[in-house]
Each structure stands twice: as C-alpha cells, then as structure tokens.
C-alpha cells in the first residue's frame, strides 16, 4: 500500500515537468515581441518595454529562462506582477484559501445532492424518482454554469434577498458571513457536479445490481439492505470515485467564472485580472498552482480508489 502510494507520487514528477514547461511556454505563444505586447502593445513606452524585458529576462535563451523560472517556482517564488509589482506567490497564498473553501463547499454540495439521487435512481430505474433524477442530471449537464449562477442570483439575491449577490467575507472574520456569501456560488458549482455524479452513480448502481455476485447475495438470503449497501454500492463506488476526481478539476476551472460573477477574491478572479492586463507572471503563477492542486486531488482519488478496490491494492 505504502509502496504503491510512493510509486504513484514518483509518477507525478515527469507529468509535472511537462505541465510546467507547458505553462512556461505560454510565453512563446505571445504574438510579436513578447516584451512589447506584455508592456501594453505598440503604444507602450520604451521604459515599460525595457522593464518587462529585464524583469522576465527575455534576452536569455528560452531554456535558461525556463530553468530559472522552474528553479524559482520550486522554492515558491513565482515572480512579481508586471502590473502592480507585487509578489505573485504572496497574492496566491492570500487568495488560495478562498478558492479552496469554495471548491470544498461545492464538492460537498455535489456529494450531498448527487449521491443520494444517484442511488435512489439506480435502485428503482423507471420509477418517478428515477425520472426526476434523470431530468435533473440531463439538465445539469446542458445548462452553462454561469447562466445557472445568474438565475440563482436573480432569484435568491435580487428578488428574495436571502443571500448577497456578490462580495466576500473571510471564514476567519465571520463564519456565518462566509457561509452566506459562499452558498450561492457553491450551490451553482455543486449542482453541476451533482448532475454528473448522479448520472454516473445511477449507471454504476444499475450495473452492479445486475451482476452475478449480487445474484449470489440474493441467493444466500440477503436482505434488501445488505444486498444494496454491502454488495452493490461498494463496487458501484469505484467508477464513481474516478469521475469525482475529474469533477474536482472541472470545479477548479468553473470556479474562475463563478468567482467573477460573485466578485469573490479567489485565484480565478486573480487570474482573470492577469489575463485582461496581459500580466504573464500572474497567469503563469495561477496556472501552475492550479496544475499542482489538480494533480494533488487526482492523487488523493487514486489512493482512495486503491482503498476501495482490493485488486489494485494487492497488485
């Protein structure tokens, strides 16, 4: 088990190298002279261009630049914003908990809604519960997240005024305040995750209930509860865990949009600001943090999968 986890950790290294070089090479995609473009285009003052050039060491060969950038990133130095001159790493460390809180809250909503729905619908395919759940998940997969967010805002914030339509209170400042401002964004993201989870879990439960080992469980006199929970669900959970891992990545990406709509000062809005201002270090910094976070979650998912699936555990 421990050996397996270590091996899995080791396998992250080459992937991280390739991904980080991709992030770095965003620079190479910049059209024209990067220094000019990043400094604000053709009207940029020569001083601004020179500043960008020196700060990003654009005169060095690309490989040297990458080596320096990677070395700095490894010790937590992601450079300074071209726009404000602030340390990118510090900004990220301030904003990261905000996004993390949102993602965790959304994941919880997704699990709390998606799992019961998926089970109920998988156990009784064809019934009303199932029809409702399928309608919900089909819709959830088709509706753009930001549109859902807007609808939720106009209903719960504008019309009924239950939740604030935007703004953010830190969890350490006031838990209730945090809860209030995180609810709508978390529900928005969570419902989309729930739609996928419910759908996958339904299919997995239907499949599991149709297996020979479930027939064996009935044949030995199993109660409905033991057959469903002990025999079917544990096996049905395996594919769903993988899907959930993928969904966490999806959450991270969608958080960018939702943070924008609800004006939440997280990583997403930081990145978006960086994008509009052509602030390359900010974009690169947030991207690499997102990548590391995503790889970390998929690592966790793999480990829990190992725990669920004895075949992987022993092999």
């Amino acid at each position: 088990m421990v050996r397996l986890v270590l091996l899995r950790l080791l396998s992250v290294v080459p992937v991280l190298l390739v991904a980080s070089s991709a992030v770095f090479l965003l620079l190479a995609l910049v059209p024209g002279d990067p220094a000019v473009t990043l400094a604000g285009g053709a009207d940029a003052t020569p001083q601004a261009v020179a500043h960008v050039r020196s700060q990003l060491h654009l005169n060095d060969p690309l490989i040297v630049q990458y080596g320096r950038w990677l070395g700095h990133a490894a010790i937590g130095n992601l450079g300074n914003s071209l726009e404000t001159g602030q340390s990118v790493a510090r900004q990220i460390s301030e904003r990261f908990p905000v996004t993390l809180g949102l993602v965790i809250a959304a994941a919880l909503v997704g699990l709390l809604v998606g799992v019961p729905l998926g089970i109920a619908s998988g156990v009784r395919p064809g019934r009303t519960v199932d029809a409702g759940a399928r309608f919900f998940s089909t819709l959830g997969l088709a509706v753009p997240g930001f549109w859902l967010a807007i609808i939720l805002v106009s209903v719960f914030a504008v019309h009924w005024r239950i939740f604030p339509s935007s703004g953010y209170t830190g969890i350490s400042t006031s838990f209730v305040g945090w809860l209030k401002c995180i609810t709508l964004p978390a529900v928005t993201l969570g419902l989309l995750v729930a739609a996928t989870l419910a759908r996958q879990l339904r299919a997995a439960v239907v499949d599991a209930l149709d297996t020979p080992y479930v027939r064996t469980a009935w044949a030995k006199g199993g109660t409905r509860r033991s057959v469903l929970f002990r025999h079917a669900l544990k096996n049905a959970a395996m594919p769903v865990v993988t899907v959930f891992g993928i969904q966490l990545g999806f959450l991270l990406g969608s958080a960018v949009i939702v943070e924008q709509i609800f004006s939440i000062p997280g990583l997403g809005s930081y990145m978006l600001g960086g994008i509009t201002a052509h602030d390359l270090p900010v974009v690169q910094g947030v991207a690499i943090v997102f990548v590391v976070f995503q790889m970390f979650t998929s690592l966790l998912v793999d480990i829990s999968y190992t725990w669920l699936n004895p075949k992987v555990r022993v092999a």
Binding site: R3, L7, V314, A315
Partner: protein, 323 residues
C-alpha cells in the same frame, strides 16, 4: 487422404522454447515458461490433437508454429524450410501456407465488416483478383463450408456461433493452406453444432489433405478427430503418440489422471477416477525437474532433481522417471 506420401511433414518444431517477461503481483519481474523444449511434427492429411488444461501453453505453441510469435530457442520448420528467423514481408508471403481458426468466432471477425470482406482480405493478400472475382471466390469458399452464398453479405452479429465458425474455416481455406491450427474451435459451441463442424473438418481434410493441429481441453473430442495426440502440462509435452495407444494405455501419470477425470458416457470405458490434488502451478517460475511432480501420485526424490528425458514406449514418447 493422400496415401502416396502419408508421412510427408508439413511443419515441425525442434527444441522450441518460448519465455515471456512479465510483471507479477508485488511489482517483481518474472519469466513465464510458456513453452520448453518442444518437439512436434505435423504431417500431411493428418491431425495432431493437442490436449492440456488452461495455462499449459497450447495456444502459444500454435502461435509459434505459425510464427505469429518468435521462439527464444529451437527451430520452426515449414515444409523442411527453416522459418525461425524469417520476418517482415518474407514472412507474410509464407503465411498463406498456414492458417489459424480461433476459439471465439465472434471475436475473430471484424464486427463492422461483412463476411465477404473478411474473406476477401484473405484472398486479396495472395491473389490478384478483381472485385467480382473475389466475391465469386468467397462464394465458392462459403459453399465449401456449406454456408449459402447469402451469408457473404452478413455481418458477424447477424450469424450464430456455428455459422460464424464455418465462415472462419472458409477464411482460413482462402489461402489454400497446407496447415491449419484450430485453437479450441468448438468449445464455445453447442454439442449439435460441434458434431457438424467436426464432420466438416474431417471432410475437408480428406478432400484437401490439410494437416490439422487440433487444440482442445476436451479429451473426447480430441479422440474422435486426431490421429496422433500430444499432452501438454505447464509448457512441456509430457506424452505424444498414436491416439489409440494414448487413450488405451496412457504412459504418463498426468495423462492417466486426465483420462480418468474426463467423464464418459460409456460405463464400460470408465476408469477409477484419479483425483489430482491442488491446482496447476503458475508457469512463472515453474517447479524444477519434472513439472508435474507437485501433483504427481508417483513422485520421488529424483523428480525434483532431474528433468525426465523422453522415453519411447511403443509408438509414443513419454517423459516420466517412473515408467
């Protein structure tokens, strides 16, 4: 059968071994001894039955014989020509002489292609024929296996297992091979269909003089179809000889156990069931000396130390220390 040259060898294995490197549970690497020191001759118009339990290396043997796999040691001969090292397009040129029929007829046909197109592929690789010429040849081949020509335009899932297995035989015949390896061709079929295919195979052999390598785990089937029989255990041939001698008077303790364990309808031919203990050991790092020693009722000290040499017994060859 061609009585003028009854023993003309079509293909031959000489001292063939085949090992694979695998990763075994726990992350270590091991070597699968799929085949070890195999000698075998296939003769024109004759059937060699190959029996053994799962994991004994029967399928690997067929694939080495057809040079779909390369042996690690030994020689593969096709009509006295050494083809062990042949590869690339030279090897593809030789493929027409030896064909293969698989266990699962559904998996052995492209589900998207019609039967005609699958058979046509086999025709076109070796013959320059127009489209209509190929279609006509395909119909002839289907006729040989007694399928109506309408089946040419069907897809695999529109056919039954037996029909598809006939089509598989037709495809194999398309290249006019001298050797046909049949890898458990009947084990996914119902008994009535089995009989029909057995009849067909027998008839084709009489007419075309093809040599068969007939692989099966069903001893009764091997008995009806083959002229000689080879018994495999864990990558080795433990006994080989004329079919009647092997079934009447098996020499190797494994053959004896296998025959006694195989159920028979005929109460007179039933033997006292010798029940072997345990399972076949893993072909990864198999037992030293005689591979059967871990389950053999006759085992003694020598069995672990020395590999038994081949001993001629009548027309057969047996590898056992205790004859």
């Amino acid at each position: 059968m061609n009585h003028d040259a009854p023993d003309r060898p079509v293909a031959e294995l000489r001292g063939v071994s085949c090992h694979f490197k695998v990763r075994i549970p726990g992350g270590r690497r091991g070597t699968v001894h799929a085949l070890d020191d195999i000698d075998l001759v296939l003769t024109e118009g004759r059937t060699l039955g190959l029996v053994g339990e799962s994991g004994s290396g029967k399928s690997t043997l067929a694939r080495v014989l057809l040079r779909l796999l390369r042996p690690d040691r030994g020689q593969v001969l096709l009509a006295s020509q050494d083809i062990t090292e042949t590869k690339g397009s030279a090897l593809r040129q030789l493929r027409r002489h030896m064909q293969l029929v698989f266990q699962d007829p559904y998996s052995s046909f492209d589900p998207l292609a019609t039967i005609e197109s699958s058979i046509g592929e086999a025709i076109s690789v070796h013959r320059e024929l127009s489209r209509s010429g190929r279609a006509q040849r395909a119909t002839e081949l289907l006729d040989q296996v007694r399928l109506p020509s309408a089946f040419a335009h069907r897809r695999p899932r529109e056919m039954s297992g037996g029909q598809l297995q006939r089509a598989a035989i037709a495809r194999a015949l398309a290249t006019e091979p001298e050797l046909l390896a049949l890898d458990e061709p009947l084990s996914s079929l119902d008994i009535a269909t089995q009989v029909q295919i057995v009849d067909l195979l027998h008839e084709l052999q009489e007419r075309l003089g093809i040599a068969y390598l007939f692989i099966s785990h069903d001893l009764n089937l091997v008995r009806t179809l083959s002229h000689r029989t080879a018994v495999m255990y864990l990558g080795r041939i433990v006994e080989e000889g004329p079919v009647e001698q092997i079934y009447r008077d098996p020499g190797h303790p494994y053959t004896q156990a296998l025959l006694s364990a195989s159920p028979s309808l005929d109460p007179a031919s039933r033997r006292r069931r010798i029940v072997l203990q345990g399972d076949i050991p893993s072909p990864v790092e198999p037992p030293t000396g005689c591979r059967f020693r871990t389950r053999c009722p006759l085992v003694t000290a020598i069995c672990a130390e020395q590999e038994p040499p081949p001993v001629p017994v009548g027309g057969a060859t047996v590898r056992c220390h205790h004859l």
